[in-house]
């Protein structure tokens, strides 16, 4: 069998682009898990709602960038409200109850979107339409831009965590909740803010990804599944690991889809997950735990 190098190169670019969006979705998920100890089943729905808010704002204002910012803020506020109403009462209970609560949220949000926007997929017009030549393909600049923007958002967030005052609050809460509370950090509000940030990141990736596939009510599920895989493979609660795992898995899926259909290529990432769980249950990209 000859190896189709040109296809290989194209799929490498594709894999990295998808990987960066996935990293953006997964970093919100891993953040919420690492700090709140909540597995957010509704993450895919926040991604989907972000895309829909993007569609609506784009339709009224005509500006993609405004849509991106508005979707991020609106869904972040929604996330904060959801956290206060449904997750705050569950603090101190079995963490499994949070899975149930967020699963309920995802059902409500998904069916709300279906009811509000109907089953027909909406389209987001991409902000830049230029192409460049990649072998025999006209490759859209927009795809590369998504990858860069995702990287910028994640990088900005990392700087915020590292140097910002509230970022330090978040890290302090992660390390030791009780101590952080004793030092005067309003832990419940840090939790709310973290959930809001995670929701906002999901929404931003929804808007960014919207032009590539079209927006419908069920678009969240495949992403949340993949994000779960990424978060587990990268090590739960580990931001750097999640990014590495997102790119790794997207590349594998991209290569696999040279030979099989994309819907079957998903199985590759499932297999990666199972192998990881068998041999490195704490994640591929973390040092061996103490």
């Amino acid at each position: 069998m000859t190896i189709p190098w040109d296809l290989f190169a194209i799929q490498t670019v594709n894999g990295i682009v998808t990987g960066m969006i996935l990293a953006l979705v997964a970093s919100g998920l891993t953040l919420i898990f690492g700090i709140l100890n909540v597995v957010n089943f509704a993450h895919g729905e926040l991604f989907m709602l972000g895309a829909y808010v993007g569609v609506l704002v784009l339709a009224t204002t005509g500006s993609f960038w405004l849509a991106l910012v508005a979707a991020t803020i609106i869904v972040a506020l929604l996330g904060a409200a959801l956290q206060i109403v449904t997750l705050r009462p569950l603090v101190g209970r079995d963490p499994m109850t949070t899975i149930l609560a967020t699963f309920g949220i995802s059902l409500v949000l998904q069916n709300y979107a279906l009811w509000q926007f109907g089953p027909v997929a909406r389209k987001i017009q991409e902000p830049i339409t230029g192409h460049f030549t990649l072998f025999y393909l006209d490759y859209p600049w927009y795809r590369l831009m998504i990858a860069l923007l995702s990287a910028a958002i994640i990088g900005g967030f990392w700087l915020f965590l590292k140097y910002g005052k509230y970022g330090i609050w978040i890290r302090a809460t992660t390390q030791d909740r009780v101590m952080a509370e004793a030092m005067g950090i309003p832990v419940p509000w840090v939790h709310t803010a973290v959930f809001a940030i995670g929701a906002g990141m999901a929404a931003a990736s929804g808007v960014l990804f919207g032009p590539l596939v079209g927006v419908d009510h069920a678009m969240g599920l495949p992403w949340v599944l993949k994000a779960f895989i990424v978060v587990v493979v990268g090590g739960m609660g580990n931001l750097g690991g999640s990014i590495a795992a997102a790119i790794f898995i997207s590349l594998l899926e991209a290569y696999a889809s040279i030979w099989v259909s994309p819907s079957q290529a998903v199985i590759v990432s499932f297999v990666v997950l199972i192998l990881t769980l068998l041999f490195r249950p704490t994640g591929l990209f973390v040092p061996t735990p103490k």
Binding site: V39, F103, G104, L107, N111, F228, L278
Partner: protein, 317 residues
């Protein structure tokens, strides 16, 4: 269990069983069929209760066992001529049992959230395989088949009617309930409950926790497969939707609504959910999951014991 307690239980069981036997003769056909469906979904929910309520592991992958039970039955009914009821049950159980072995082996290495995610991923693997392997499974269109007669092949066979189907389902579900109840009260079941309460201590006492977990997932998967067989016999078609994650999610909802760790609770929960769906879809059409989801979230927060636990506490007051 005291003597008196046991008498109360068996008389209660007999009364409910008698009511369920009489139901299809009294109820209009629509509601008779509805009741049969409740029993089938109740069996699925009950099988998942072994994991959620007794071993303390939430499975988000029960659709895999249920769906494979359906497809196993379909295989037996389409491949073997003449169709044979017992072969159909056997095929369904073998299919779901094989899946359960694989899922149990891998997923029980993990705990809590990781277990939930792994079971979810496994069910999606089977969903993707069934959905894309069109030549064997019929893909999105699924498979249609006719159900076999009731009885011993070669000796005495009658065609299923709505009533006999109901009684057949009732017999299987009631038998499964008694069996599962026996399992949960056996020394084995007690070990499962001690894993739920304190896994580290159970291990320290000397129990091989992993083995117990694997067996509990397999038992759970087998009964979920049995529910799949019943569903296939009742509805005479198989579709990839039954392997889809939503079925697993609904199974968890049944458990939480009815009350985990009670075996009866999940059946009550399934009945409550299906009734809610029936009632609410009159007003909300296909968007009934919006109010049902809100009720579910409220129950998770305010009524963690489920309907049955809530009623029990209310009666004891």
């Amino acid at each position: 269990m005291t003597e008196r307690h046991s008498t109360v239980f068996w008389s209660g069981f007999a009364v409910i069983l008698a009511l369920l036997i009489a139901a299809p003769l009294v109820l209009p056909p629509f509601w008779g069929r509805f009741l049969t469906e409740i029993l089938i979904w109740g069996l699925l929910a009950m099988s998942s209760d072994i994991l959620i309520g007794y071993t303390g592991m939430i499975s988000f992958g029960h659709s895999a066992f249920f769906g494979l039970g359906i497809y196993g039955t379909a295989a037996a009914l389409l491949l073997v001529d003449p169709p044979n009821l017992f072969l159909a049950i056997l095929f369904g159980l073998v299919a779901s049992g094989l899946v359960a072995v694989v899922v149990a082996y891998f997923s029980t290495r993990l705990r809590d959230i990781y277990f939930a995610i792994t079971t979810l991923i496994f069910s999606q693997i089977f969903y993707v395989v069934i959905f894309t392997w069109t030549s064997v499974t019929g893909g999105e269109n699924g498979l249609a088949f006719t159900r076999p007669g009731l009885g011993i092949p070669g000796l005495y066979v009658v065609r299923f009617t709505a009533e006999t189907m109901h009684w057949f389902v009732l017999a299987v579900v009631a038998g499964s309930y008694l069996l599962l109840r026996r399992i949960t009260q056996s020394p084995f079941g007690t070990v499962l409950q001690s894993i739920r309460e304190n896994e580290a201590r159970t291990r320290a006492i000397g129990y091989h926790v992993e083995h117990y977990k694997i067996v509990s997932v397999m038992i759970s998967g087998l009964f979920a497969g049995l529910a799949g067989v019943l569903y296939a016999l009742q509805n005479q078609f198989a579709a990839p939707d039954f392997v889809f994650f939503l079925v697993s999610g609904e199974t968890v909802i049944f458990n939480v609504m009815g009350g985990i760790g009670t075996l009866v609770g999940p059946i009550v929960g399934a009945g409550f959910f299906l009734l809610l769906r029936e009632a609410l879809s009159r007003f909300f059409t296909e968007y009934y999951l919006i109010p049902v989801g809100i009720i579910f979230i409220a129950m998770v927060i305010f009524m963690p014991q489920g309907l049955l636990g809530f009623m029990r506490r209310w009666l004891n007051r």
